[in-house]
């Protein structure tokens, strides 16, 4: 669906980001950055706000990978779950996942993805963030326990995955769905077209 005009590298090991970009018909190489993601302190309010944190982390990943690819454009992303200004990371264990899901139950939270696109001829990388509001249904303890038992929450920020079993937790969203999955596809594709990296064919 898209012709590649420049080589593209995805600086992410997330199978969800890979699958979103693939499904849109974009070709790319995958090279996860080796940087250690800063683990947000539970309930901490980050300086500059969570959008700045997501953008900064996306840029770190992109730049770390960019060094190895002097002739390609590199796309990096970082997704955060935010409840009342506090960043939720990945749960430490099952009890932590239960606690996270209890705090999200019956309420709105935000999912923020920072995106960074950089190339060898760019003086500064391009960076933006997309925010989606997510409303959870009110969860019973039995539902939370059954979901945590599947193991799905363990490698996910906020302890849920909207694209798999966790879909039943979400009553509604406002904004980009693919942003909640991990990459705001509409905005990313627009940007790749504007920068002359892909072309619809």
């Amino acid at each position: 669906m898209f012709r590649m005009l420049q080589p593209l590298v995805l600086a992410s090991q997330s199978p969800r980001r890979k699958s979103l970009l693939h499904s849109a018909g974009v070709s790319f190489q995958v090279r996860p950055s080796r940087i250690v993601e800063p683990v947000p302190l539970e309930g901490s309010l980050e300086p500059g706000g969570p959008c700045e944190v997501a953008k900064k982390c996306a840029c770190l990943k992109t730049q770390a990978v960019g060094i190895d690819f002097p002739f390609a454009r590199v796309l990096g992303a970082d997704t955060l779950v935010v409840l009342e200004g506090a960043i939720f990371g990945k749960p430490r264990d099952a009890a932590h996942a239960v606690a996270m899901l209890q705090s999200l139950s019956g309420r709105d939270h935000q999912v923020i993805t920072g995106i960074c696109l950089a190339g060898p001829s760019d003086r500064v990388p391009r960076v933006f963030s997309v925010t989606t509001r997510v409303t959870f249904k009110r969860l019973t303890s039995a539902e939370i326990e059954a979901y945590v038992k599947t193991g799905e929450p363990m490698d996910k920020a906020g302890a849920y995955g909207i694209q798999d079993r966790g879909a039943f937790l979400v009553r509604s969203i406002e904004g980009s769905y693919t942003n909640v999955v991990g990459l705001p596809l509409c905005e990313t594709i627009d940007w790749l077209m504007e920068d002359g990296i892909i072309q619809p064919v």
Copy 2:
């Protein structure tokens, strides 16, 4: 994730509905109804409004299948795409798909799914509908042509599939995402639990 307390039949041949219910961990048998879906007249305003049309069609499918399953609960669904009160069906051909996507470009439309759940001991079937607002990005002719060429729009109401290549068309939604895919999962799971068909384990 859920224990089945009663047998469930899905009265739909949609692979997307099947996959949504499966991903939530619900077990069921599939039996598509043999009823011929009423094809809405292009641009027609249906009597009773599109929500009534979606509910009626979901009930027709459910009842047609229910006759063959006297000991099971049957779940039927029907999804419509509605632009300014007018129902969009599946495109007749590629040119029709292009025209549909041109009218959806840069605007909001609604996706309505009617759901019906019926069992042998129910005097009247339970029925409801869920509406999601979908906002398309402004599409260029090249983007529309490239997307139609993939063949994906041909079997889909409104000429797009939000869960596949069509994801890049959608800037944002307001409401249930799974409803746009074809089955509002949060509401359906709630209903199956309330009716004692499934139980979280």
